[in-house]
Assembly symmetry: C2
């Protein structure tokens, strides 16, 4: 028997979870109205903000209060200001601006697939009328490429350190399903010896090309239009980046893909897989473990795989070594395969 009284049962977590979608839509509205930039520029009460963002004063007052409650703004004496995180990531003038993520994360398709989650649980794979999200479908992945690049930059910075530690010259990198291309591009920007080949569907590659241009690495950037499944990848790469890709597929498919990547590496070359890798309990760390549900909702058979599962896949594909690298400040982990 415990001497402490048990806390009284409360339905609060149930209520707040069943209404948690309100939080997503409120932040989406703040981003769409560019409320954060307006506040950063000095419009700090409903009366001045409503003119600046072209919305009703009542609407702005209620939204700004809500965003304060949710931790995106501060409010003192009726005046709003940005939190430290909002100033870095939600002010459009900030180089680390990430508001664009909203276009993808709260897209009709992403939320729509969650609408039918009960059916997906029954089926054991996506019940979306569109089907598995890894089938060629440029619109979705162009949206991803346009929206999610900023989120990749911190991880890409870690990859840049890994790659620059290698003394070989030049360094050839293949970036699989490159999307926005920001992993390879960031690494190339950090190391003038790096040449990146970015593989993706043609419409998506247009975004990566733009980003390479903006980053000033277009002369060390090659666009390879096609699919990781059947396009000739080339050979002799020092590194192959496999970022947020293997989680879309089942184990046999990943083994087949890893065999293709193994063939494209030079001896001693490495794959660097960036992934949500939960611990074996599959409930920690929370963000990585929770990602499994996203794959249930969007794919036929994808998953957030554990490191032992990745180890087996790499071994089956012929890699002589596979290691896990945990970067404390990143939500994702690195799985490194060595040929």
């Amino acid at each position: 028997m415990s001497s402490a009284a048990a806390p009284k049962p409360s339905p609060e977590l149930i209520f707040s979870t069943l209404t948690s979608y309100q939080r997503a839509f409120a932040l989406k509205a703040g981003i769409e109205l560019d409320l954060f930039t307006a506040i950063a520029e000095g419009a700090n009460d409903p009366a001045s903000l409503c003119k600046r963002v072209n919305a009703a004063e009542r609407g702005v007052r209620i939204l700004a209060d809500y965003l304060t409650i949710d931790g995106f703004l501060r409010k003192e004496n009726g005046k709003y200001s940005l939190t430290a995180d909002s100033a870095v990531f939600l002010d459009k003038r900030s180089p680390a601006y990430m508001g664009g993520m909203s276009h993808f994360l709260t897209s009709e398709q992403n939320i729509g697939n969650m609408w039918v989650l009960t059916d997906s649980v029954r089926k054991g794979g996506t019940a979306s009328h569109i089907g598995d999200n890894s089938k060629p479908e440029d619109g979705r992945w162009v949206n991803f490429a346009r929206s999610m690049g900023a989120m990749a930059v911190p991880t890409a910075g870690v990859l840049a350190q890994l790659v620059s530690a290698n003394p070989a010259s030049p360094i050839r990198i293949l970036d699989i399903a490159a999307g926005h291309g920001m992993y390879g591009i960031t690494v190339a920007k950090n190391n003038p010896r790096v040449h990146v080949t970015a593989l993706d569907w043609p419409a998506v590659l247009e975004v990566a090309k733009e980003n390479a241009q903006k980053a000033g690495v277009a002369d060390r950037f090659t666009a390879l239009a096609g699919s990781a499944f059947d396009t000739h990848l080339g050979e002799g790469y020092d590194y192959i980046f496999i970022t947020n890709f293997l989680h879309h597929f089942d184990v046999p498919t990943n083994e087949m893909l890893l065999r293709r990547f193994h063939s494209a590496l030079k001896p001693g070359g490495k794959t660097i897989t960036v992934e949500f890798v939960p611990n074996e309990d599959r409930i920690t760390p929370p963000m990585a473990a929770a990602f499994s549900l996203v794959m249930l909702a969007h794919t036929d058979a994808g998953d957030a795989y554990t490191f032992p599962e990745y180890e087996k896949m790499h071994s089956a594909a012929g890699f002589r070594n596979c290691t896990l690298q945990i970067i404390p400040e990143l939500p994702q982990r690195l799985v490194i395969g060595e040929k």
Copy 2:
């Protein structure tokens, strides 16, 4: 200058908020599949659960892990069990079962109105194609009445104590926009001297009548079909319950309604308003203050009003006294008007 280092900026809150709808849909799926009851009855791993809830093992494994991460289940050695709150509120065999809330809180209409929140902020009122949610529309409010009754019971217990403290005999209560009727019904169940008149649209009243029957108070329960705006309310009531009603309207409308309720009270009679009442900063307490956004999304001009605002409305409507009662364990507050 602070001597402590500022925490490193992190986009984690932005990411988790933009994807927070996943939490709502996961809990909805758990409730729809009745996963919690299945676990309570002893099916505690994916292999046994999937048979019990008629779903794919992979789907059940991923959903149960997610619900563990979100605090609705525990997982030890691969076996799931209910948390204390889930056992009370999500096991269908529990008398305090609240899973039914999901039908209302995650309904297509409730989420749909949030989809257009940016437009509602611009407009300063609901941009829903259905319009203001307080216009007669039985389907939505029948859903509410069928889904949200359990949530009312703790607050109704507090009302029962307030009312039973009154020595008058008998006690006549008018329950405005009664919905499920659980406020008046619970009070009647607790006090045999209480007679409740429940006002609502006819289709909604059918739910309240059923609940009165189940609670064994049908002989002290009168259904009054109509609207608070124009139906003759009767007179000489000891109490009028105004539960989650005034938040739908603007101040002049509420003053007009309160005048009607004032007329229907006997001298010394009281209105008891159950509401989300934020403090004057409009950002605390969080749940009450956040409710304002729901009214922006669903109504033309509703709001979560502060107590000084309610005081003014009561005064304008002729009440001689208006007091605030805060019940620490409840998310809502009571505003009591005295004739």
